[in-house]
Every structure is written in structure tokens, then in C-alpha cells.
């Protein structure tokens, strides 16, 4: 096959673009690694198992931050995932056509709101609500569980998880909606022709077909929750702490970096923060990678 010059140039540009992204990720990783070297050398493995964060004596442990990041993100996913799928099903299958467009638009708008605004909403509206209403309510009905022990302060894992869930609903729901809509009409009609009810068609045919795609949407949402910084910092409570109770304040990797970076003086402190960034990088990479792997395996196994 003969190729003309335009094709070659285009191919070159496309190749360069994709290589550029790979190189960017690679250099980001290398740079973080270089900067975090003093911290890695000083703390070694203790960085990951030490609970103390004491700037006065320069003892830094990342465990509370890693724990907080994972707890708030998973909590957010637990809240947002079912809701988002509900939204997606409603828009793609059930809503009258006149409602479809405005509803999708509003949800996409929700995704465009800056995270600072979610943080302010969390701090000024949600936190008092959690302290005075939601917290005591959960305690009354589920107080026997270790997750709901102690005095609700208003800020903490629970509030951060709720704020994060609202922030990732647009990502998950709009992606899921696209995926549901991509399920061929023929298949639905075949289901109805066999005498299936609407519920059966949605559950077995539409969701059955779109399952792996919806999981992928959830993972993307989780990725956003892991990396969210500003809003979480405002509502997490910023207390380096590991607690099973969702009412207690905690820290996340991003909140520690945001809080400490501006005033970080000295090589060690900056290096410690860089290592935290590296840890977040690796956690995100790992979760995304694992999720991808399982989803791919699932699709191929079917």
C-alpha cells in the first residue's frame, strides 16, 4: 500500500502524542522518587507503619494518611455507586424523553462545579447536619456497629465520604449512562418479545451487557475520590488518627500535602511530602491497574 506524506506526518504526530503521555507519567514517577529519597532513606519501611506525625521531633508516619485516603474513597464509592447506577438507568431506560436531556445536563453541571465549592458546602451545611442530625440518627439505629461509635464532631471520615460521593456521582453516572445507551435496541426488543418484564429486561439484558463498563465507570470515580484534595481537606478534620469510627476526624494523603506544603521548611519535610505524593501515585496506579485487569479478564472470560 502506498502512503503519502500527510499520512506519515499524521502518524508521527499521533505516535509522539501517545509517547509524550507515557514519558510524562514516567518522569513524574522518577522525579517524585528522587525528591523523596531523603525521606525513604531516613524512615524506610517505618514510614508506612508508623502512626505518629510529629513535625517538632521530625518523626513522620504515613499510615493514618493512607488509611484515611482509602476509607474515605471507599465510603464515597459505596454511597455513589448505587445512586449513580440508579440515575443512569433512569435516564437511559425509564425517563420520558422530555426529561432525559435536562437531567443529563444537570448531572454534568454537577461535575463542573469546582471542588472548593463542594468543600464549603461540606463545611458550612453538611458538617453541622452530620453533628446534630445524621450522626445521632445513625447512632440510634446502628450504634452497636463499631463504625458509629463516639461523639460526632461534624467533620471526619463520614462527612468527607459524603462530600466525595457527591463529587464522583457525575463521573460514574454519566459514563454508566453512555454505556447503558450503547446496549443495542435489538437486544431489548428481543427480551420483550420473549415476554420479559421491563425490570427483567433492565436487570438481565441491559445491565448484564453493560456490567464491565459500569464497573470501569466506578473505578474512574474511585480514582477521582482518591486524588481529591481541596474539598476533603476542609471536611476531614485533619487529625492524624486511625479509627474505625466514621465519626472521628482523620487525614488523607492529599490533605496532609495541602496543609503542610506551604509552610514546609527544610529538606526532610519537603521530602516526606514528596514521598506521600509518591505513595498516592502508586495507590492510584495499583487500584486502577487491578481494576482494569479484572474487568478485562471478565470480558474475555465471558
Amino acid at each position: 500500500m502506498k502512503k503519502n506524506l500527510g499520512d506519515k506526518i499524521f502518524k508521527g504526530i499521533a505516535l509522539f502524542s501517545s509517547l509524550f503521555v507515557i514519558l510524562l507519567v514516567f518522569f513524574l514517577f522518577v522525579e517524585l522518587l528522587i525528591y523523596s529519597f531523603p525521606s525513604i532513606k531516613k524512615f524506610g519501611i517505618y514510614f508506612f507503619i508508623d502512626k505518629i506525625w510529629d513535625p517538632v521531633t521530625e518523626r513522620y508516619g504515613a499510615l493514618p494518611a493512607i488509611y484515611g485516603t482509602i476509607v474515605t474513597s471507599i465510603l464515597a464509592l459505596l454511597i455513589a455507586f448505587p445512586l449513580s447506577i440508579g440515575i443512569a438507568i433512569f435516564i437511559s431506560e425509564l425517563a420520558p424523553p422530555a426529561l432525559k436531556r435536562p437531567l443529563s445536563f444537570i448531572i454534568e453541571l454537577l461535575g463542573a462545579i469546582p471542588s472548593l465549592i463542594y468543600g464549603m458546602w461540606g463545611l458550612f451545611s453538611l458538617a453541622p447536619l452530620v453533628q446534630l442530625k445524621i450522626g445521632p440518627f445513625l447512632q440510634r439505629i446502628l450504634g452497636f456497629l463499631p463504625f458509629f461509635q463516639g461523639y460526632p464532631l461534624g467533620v471526619g471520615y463520614l462527612t468527607a465520604g459524603i462530600v466525595l460521593s457527591v463529587m464522583i456521582i457525575p463521573t460514574i453516572s454519566s459514563l454508566s449512562r453512555e454505556i447503558l445507551m450503547a446496549v443495542p435496541i435489538d437486544q431489548r426488543e428481543a427480551g420483550y418479545a420473549l415476554g420479559m418484564t421491563k425490570w427483567e429486561v433492565i436487570w438481565k439484558i441491559v445491565l448484564g451487557n453493560a456490567r464491565s463498563g459500569i464497573f470501569a465507570a466506578g473505578i474512574l470515580g474511585l480514582g477521582r475520590a482518591l486524588g481529591e484534595a481541596v474539598a476533603v481537606t476542609m471536611v476531614i478534620g485533619n487529625f492524624p488518627n486511625i479509627s474505625v469510627s466514621l465519626f472521628s476526624p482523620g487525614v488523607t494523603i492529599t490533605s496532609v500535602i495541602i496543609n503542610e506544603f506551604a509552610e514546609a521548611a527544610g529538606q526532610l519535610k519537603i521530602s516526606v511530602l514528596m514521598e506521600l505524593a509518591l505513595v498516592l501515585f502508586l495507590i492510584t496506579f495499583l487500584i486502577m491497574g487491578l481494576a482494569r485487569y479484572y474487568i478485562l479478564k471478565r470480558i474475555e472470560g465471558r
Binding site: 506525625w53 517538632v56 463545611l123 458538617a127 453541622p128 467533620v155 481537606t233 478534620g237 485533619n238 506551604a262
Partner: protein, 330 residues
């Protein structure tokens, strides 16, 4: 013709930049509202432009050490050994008090807190508002039985530095267990980011207590406590009480001092200075002169503006000492 005009415009721009002296500064956020007003008026009066970026004390110190700005600003003093090592002069510009603020339903300002009670609240030893140690100090208030929620800064901050210096000064236990610094390992409590973050938490959380720059406490209408000073008197963070404290603390010529826990019956015990840092080896002669002009202008004409914005002007003896330090710029 058009080209000629363009060339003239360009020349004008170039000369405009090089004609006027420009001073670049960066650092502390706490004095920023005041600095921006000071620098604006200073430019109007003296024709010298000051460009200030509130990027945080730590970053300000790093930048002046590296020599990328003409002055750095910091809320906490830097060690004399560091001043020498990096060839820096450090002088205070203005002072401020730190209020202990709280949110208790039905209780306004004026709750009395003794020194040991304050320390034990922040150590997490006193957990309830109706603890007998608090109620016995305040027989006039009907204090509700409520858990105490300690609120403090989550970001590194000069305010935290001054407050923890005070706690270390009055309690050996605090000094050993926690210590002092721009950020510390707090035994209890939740952290808000920035003064606004702390003010927001306190406003929204019943039963909370925290520390804030007086200006932020007043602007947010928060109730503040009367704190027991060295002489045993309970004092409010008012201008005259903060001034009394500043006047009674002897200041060394390198200004490395935390004027906390000052003697004097009227003195409010939690106060601090905010500083600017200038390189002794600054090469540019024009900039040296401009910086000297700026500082003497601030000391001479800045007091009124400072008080309007709830900052505390420096006592005269400290201004004189600072000017003497700055002579070498001339």
C-alpha cells in the same frame, strides 16, 4: 507612522519599569491585609512600588534565603544562628494577639480560663465543658454538659507557633509531650485550614474551642475567653492589654523573641510579632535605600492603619531598635 508610535510606546514602557524602583516581597499571610494597604499608600506617597505575595511564612523564609525576593515575611522569628548563616536582618513590623474562642450555646464572651485548665483542654485531659474545674471558675455562667471539641490549625502557621510557645512556657508537660512549632503533633482535636478554616469550624460546631488571630475572632463575631496571665489576673485580648504585654517584654537586638506570658497585671499573655527579613548583602543600592524608606515609613505612618485592621502597632522603643538595625542598609 504606526511603527514610530509603537516604538515610542515600547520605550515608554521600558523606561517606566526601569525608572521606578520595584521591591519584591513574599511570605506570611497573617499581615497580608495590612501590608497590602500599607504598600498601596506607600507607593502613592513615595512612588516606590512594593509587590507582595502572601505565600506563607515558610515559603517566604525559603525565598529570602535563596535571594529570589528583596524581603521575606514570617510570623515566627528565625533563629539567630540562621540569621547569621544566611546574612539576614530580621525586624518586626507589627504585633497581634491570639484569642481563645469558643462556641457554647447561650454563653457569650468572657468565659474565664485558668492556665492549667487551658493546657489540659488542649492536652485532652478535660473533656467536658461542665468539668468542675471550668464551672468553678465561672459561677456566673450556666455551662451546658457538652463534649469539648478542640479546633486548631491544620496547616503550618505562625499563629500555631505563638500559641504553642505560650503553652510550652506555662506547662512543662506540654513542652515535653508536644512542644512548639508552626505545626505540632496535637494530642486531640480537629484541624481547620487557615484562620478562616478554624473560624468556620468553630462557628459550625457547638462545644468547640480554638485559637485565632484577634482580628479574625472579632470579624467573625466569635466569643473569646479571658485568659489568666502571669500575675493571676484574667484578661481579654484587647488592644491595651496586648500593648501592655509588648511593652513589658525585653527585646534582644536580633529580635529572636516570643513575647508570650508577659508580666504585668493588665498584660494579655498570648501575643506575637510578625517579621520581615532582609538580606544584609543585597547588592542593589537603590533597593537598599527603598527598603529603608519603606521601613521608616511603616514605623512613622503605619500605626493608624494597623489599628483600624485590629493589628497592634509596635511600642516606640522597639521601633527605634529596629531602625537602628536597619541603618546598615543606608
Amino acid at each position: 507612522m504606526k511603527k514610530a508610535i509603537l516604538v515610542i510606546l515600547l520605550l515608554l514602557m521600558v523606561f517606566n519599569i526601569y525608572g521606578a524602583v520595584l521591591i519584591n516581597g513574599a511570605g506570611a499571610t497573617f499581615p497580608y491585609p495590612l501590608y497590602s494597604r500599607w504598600f498601596y499608600d506607600f507607593e502613592k506617597e513615595m512612588g516606590i512600588k512594593v509587590n507582595y505575595q502572601p505565600i506563607g511564612s515558610g515559603a517566604g523564609i525559603e525565598q529570602i534565603k535563596a535571594g529570589t525576593v528583596d524581603f521575606g515575611a514570617s510570623d515566627s522569628p528565625i533563629l539567630p544562628s540562621d540569621q547569621n548563616k544566611f546574612n539576614l536582618i530580621m525586624v518586626p513590623t507589627v504585633a497581634g494577639g491570639i484569642a481563645i474562642v469558643y462556641n457554647l450555646p447561650g454563653i457569650g464572651k468572657g468565659l474565664k480560663l485558668s492556665r492549667s485548665v487551658l493546657v489540659d483542654i488542649f492536652l485532652g485531659k478535660i473533656k467536658l465543658w461542665n468539668d468542675p474545674r471550668i464551672t468553678s471558675l465561672n459561677p456566673n455562667f450556666k455551662i451546658p454538659p457538652m463534649p469539648i471539641v478542640v479546633v486548631r490549625r491544620s496547616d503550618g502557621s505562625g499563629t500555631t507557633d505563638i500559641f504553642t510557645q505560650f503553652l510550652s512556657a506555662i506547662s512543662p508537660e506540654w513542652k515535653n509531650k508536644v512542644g512548639s512549632g508552626t505545626s505540632v503533633n496535637w494530642p486531640v482535636g480537629v484541624g481547620g485550614r487557615g484562620n478562616m478554616g478554624v473560624a468556620g469550624y468553630i462557628k459550625n460546631t457547638v462545644g468547640s474551642i480554638g485559637y485565632l488571630e484577634v482580628a479574625y475572632a472579632l470579624q467573625n463575631n466569635l466569643s473569646y475567653a479571658l485568659i489568666q496571665n502571669k500575675e493571676g489576673a484574667f484578661v481579654a485580648p484587647e488592644i491595651k492589654n496586648i500593648k501592655s504585654a509588648l511593652e513589658r517584654v525585653k527585646v534582644p537586638s536580633d529580635f529572636y523573641i516570643y513575647p508570650v506570658d508577659a508580666p504585668g497585671k493588665e498584660s494579655y499573655p498570648i501575643v506575637g510579632y510578625t517579621f520581615i527579613l532582609i538580606r544584609r548583602d543585597l547588592k542593589d543600592k537603590e533597593k537598599r535605600e527603598a527598603l529603608f524608606k519603606l521601613m521608616s515609613w511603616i514605623y512613622e505612618k503605619g500605626d493608624k492603619m494597623a489599628e483600624e485592621l485590629y493589628y497592634i502597632p509596635l511600642p516606640k522603643n522597639i521601633k527605634d531598635l529596629a531602625l537602628k538595625r536597619l541603618e546598615i542598609l543606608k
